[in-house]
């Protein structure tokens, strides 16, 4: 892992901790859940999961197998509008954090790192 990667990870960690502490992360999670429900994405994914369970068999299925099968397509079918909205909100939250603390991570370098969510 390069020094740049290490710094990025550290900044990510700080940003994430701040968001959890302020309660913003929970709010954003709730917003994301609502948007994904509204556009029908959730129902689509549920159907996908049912198909996978049917194929693999109820006795053999584990959560990890399900995640491995369904995640790629599910990630892909998230509507752009939802991604844009959430990204904008996260950017706002981080820039608010920057304006509050002096030794803040630079805004541009944080946004270039991709976020992994569960």
């Amino acid at each position: 892992m390069t020094d740049m990667d290490k710094t990025n990870h550290r900044m990510l960690a700080i940003a994430k901790q701040n968001m959890v502490e302020s309660g913003e992360r929970d709010q954003l999670m709730q917003l994301l859940r609502t948007r994904l429900l509204e556009c029908g994405w959730r129902d689509q994914v549920v159907m996908e999961c049912k198909d996978v369970v049917r194929d693999v068999g109820v006795e053999n299925i584990t959560l990890d197998k399900l995640i491995a099968e369904v995640t790629p397509k599910a990630r892909q079918t998230v509507p752009d509008s939802v991604k844009r909205e959430l990204l904008q909100k996260i950017k706002n939250s981080i820039s608010n954090q920057s304006s509050l603390s002096s030794s803040a991570p630079s805004f541009s370098s944080v946004s270039s790192v991709s976020f992994n969510h569960n």
């Binding site: 960690a13 901790q17 959890v20 502490e21 969510h117 569960n118």
Partner: protein, 537 residues
Amino acid sequence: MYRSSDRLVAYYHQRMSSSICQHLDSFKHKYGLNSYQIIYKQFISVTTHESRKRKARNSICFTCRLPVSRLHSCLYCVFFGCFTGHHIHEHSKTQNHNLAMDLSYGHIYCFTCEDYMHDKDFETIAKKQKHRADKVCGARCVQYYMWEPTSQELQVLKDNPQRKRISDNSHIGLRGLINLGNTCFMNCIVQALTHTPLLRDYFLADRHICQFEDDPSMCLVCEMSRLFQEVALNCLPLVFYSGKSSPHTPYKLLHLVWTHARHLAGYEQQDAHEFFIATLDVLHRHCRGTNGPTNNSPIHCNCIIDQIFTGSLQSDVVCQSCKGVSSVEDPIWDFSLDLGPSLHMRQQRATSSTQAVCDESEPKSLIDCLERFTRPEHLGSSAKIKCSSCQSYQESTKQLSLKKLPVVASFHLKRFEHSSRFHKKISSFISFPQYLDMTPFMASKIGCTGSGTGSTDGSNVNTYINGVPHNDNKYCLFAVVNHSGTIETGHYTAFIRQHRDQWFKCDDHLIMRASVQEVLDSEGYLLFYHKQILEYE
């Protein structure tokens, strides 16, 4: 379809009774549920600022020192490890701790079984803590929790294996009502009320808490609730005329109404509108207890009747000399609309022998009636009002407009004239629309804002849903009560709408399919409209 519901019952039964993971069971026996609860409360369902801070700073994988996703906590010791990096798996192997819980949702992973395992006791804790946290964090809308049957509910399902399937063709919620002797006026109002969506939802969801502690049989709301369930849960077969589904006899309701609204007692034919108002009043009084017995103000009452039927009218009195405006807001439960020639016209006709030139014509439609209702009226030289700015009695005009729209707008066409000279019925045809927009009658459009001029700012008419402006003043017809006959002898029938576009005619115990044209062509005495924004498109 019967098999799938039986399978579901069997599944829930199994989840309740048997255990799934023996490793979880032995952990439970040895260590109990406490550690799980502590970890859940500290790291998943946080409620205080301090615990949120602690969660933020400590939700880190001990190995890679980063706040990763899918963080797990060991159940045996204090160790957090990430799942994707397999750090929790390494810990499990080296320490021989075979159980960990996921810190996003509280699911328990068993490393021996290599999967997440369900356990009723742990899940009960998780559910309880989550409910607690949701309440504290004040989720803006009520959280949706999936329905899970209790053991009694499961037993009921198993004891009663017969299932009724609701399809597009089944007609649920229609039931004839026996006429107990000139009680068609009551039957029509009951049909209209049981097809008022919000009211039906309220009663079917059992939301009423009875205030009559010593004698609940006196409560009209309880009786209504039972009646709704009798009507709304009745499933009529496809063919109505076979009469297979028996009509309901509302003798209890009648008795309760007689007890609480004495002026309606007796077997004579009553006015359906009077019955409607009396019923709403009694229901409101019997509901009122739940909202604080001290609050008598009709505007501030929060009972289901007021939530649905009560709106408010703005009454503007304009002094003709200084043009000063005095506005008052009053509650309104239904709109009683005059028909026939207006008072002004009648006065003119009475005073002059020649045909007076009249600039007003008789109303021919509901819109005409509403226009007349909200027209500025000159109060006349014999009814001067004291103007506060002029400090003297001046002639003035008075205008009514709608300030707050009720969810259900009920219109009463005053067809029955009771004057000292004669009683007669105005049977002229008044057309009414299926869809009604109340915007032209709103205070924001035609009322006075205090400056003496009507407001032209229509921006507060719209509410915004997902960024799109939505006109909140549109209504949709859902019930019509008609009176046929003369003022001495007559009969009431009702048209009610089911789903979006299916109309039925209710003639006491007879229910017949009707077309929307039949409804719109009928005479119309009481018209019930529902705010359109609540319809499910």
